[in-house]
């Protein structure tokens, strides 16, 4: 256990144990590199919270500052492994969410305008926050779900 402790694993796990830090790391891992301002938009966290998360992540060796104001997953092996794991989790979460909307769109009654609007709004939020990742991982998924909903 001492070896694990000295290798910094405990610090990493402790850092990632905080939900707001996880959120920032997850988005950073998916988008490769991003500025603090962009992270605020993508995570809907305050500037202060993003700043705190970045400080903790940097201290734990999980991220590094690339250029002025831009952060990326650090180039060391464990940071890369954690980054990949978080990216996969995000993609799996997106697949689940898109499938839920797709299935709901499938069973929606044509005259249920409220439900249709709710699903379209949910899709809009996903497109806003994760559109680039969705398009890369699930090409045309946003388009097909939208067309299915708008055609009802």
């Amino acid at each position: 256990m001492e070896i694990i402790k000295s290798a910094g694993v405990e610090d990493v796990l402790k850092t990632l144990g905080r939900p707001f830090v996880q959120k920032v790391f997850c988005v950073l891992a998916a988008f490769n590199k991003m500025s603090a301002r962009e992270l605020e938009k993508k995570t809907s966290l305050s500037a202060r919270t993003v700043y705190d998360a970045l400080t903790l992540l940097e201290r734990a060796g999980l991220i590094e500052r690339k250029e002025r104001g831009v952060y990326a997953v650090a180039s060391n092996r464990s940071a890369k492994l954690f980054g990949e794991a978080y990216h996969h989790l995000l993609v799996a979460g997106l697949a689940e969410e898109l499938t839920r909307i797709m299935r709901a769109a499938e069973s929606i009654e044509a005259d249920n305008e409220d439900e249709r609007r709710t699903l379209l709004d949910e899709l809009e939020t996903l497109a806003k926050d994760y559109g680039d990742i969705i398009e890369r991982e699930f090409p045309r998924a946003i388009q097909e779900i939208f067309l299915s909903l708008s055609g009802k």
Partner: protein
């Protein structure tokens, strides 16, 4: 909105590929290039949802028998092929469930692309639906083609019910299959 020679060329190549690979007669419809800012005029719900709009590539509007290709995707063969298939089928969003309409269209899109030696960027969200229709297509190729390209919706569903062994499948969600 405008007519575009590159998109027209891509579209004609797509129609020709459908004819060649699937052996069916296909009709040409109208095709326009549309700028993103013009999309809310065609799909009003996009006016309030600009982020969805960013990810539209093209679509077929059955009411106007027209394919709209979003500017920038004039030579996107997969998108235009997919919409060309929709335009020749009686299955549309207003009369068919997503899993049947998109499942079959994706199955044909994939089949035509691969037979033409082109790559297919899979729709991973429809993985199970695609597997279902791929299996059906493998076993009942001619019947599935006949159903999809039929001009008669009732006939289309009758054939699909016959090959799948599922009655009233158009009223069922994929999770019930």
């Amino acid at each position: 909105m405008r007519i575009d020679s590159i998109a027209k060329k891509t579209y004609r190549e797509a129609l020709s590929a459908i004819r060649e690979v699937l052996g069916v007669q296909v009709q040409e419809c109208e095709l326009f290039i549309v700028e993103k800012r013009e999309l809310p005029q065609i799909k009003p719900s996009l006016g309030e949802r600009p982020h969805i709009m960013n990810f539209l590539r093209g679509f077929y509007e059955a009411e106007w028998n027209t394919i709209f290709v979003v500017s920038g995707y004039e030579d996107d063969f997969q998108t235009i092929l997919h919409e060309a298939l929709h335009s020749n089928s009686c299955l549309h969003p207003s009369n068919s469930p997503f899993w049947i309409r998109e499942g079959l269209t994706e199955t044909f899109t994939e089949h035509v692309l691969l037979r033409k030696g082109l790559s297919y960027s899979g729709n991973l969200l429809l993985k199970e639906e695609l597997n279902f229709w791929r299996g059906m297509f493998k076993k009942h190729r001619e019947k599935i083609i006949e159903a999809y390209f039929s001009k008669n919706l009732k006939k289309c569903y009758t054939i699909l019910a016959e090959v799948t062994g599922i009655s009233h499948l158009e009223k069922k969600a994929f999770t019930e299959i």
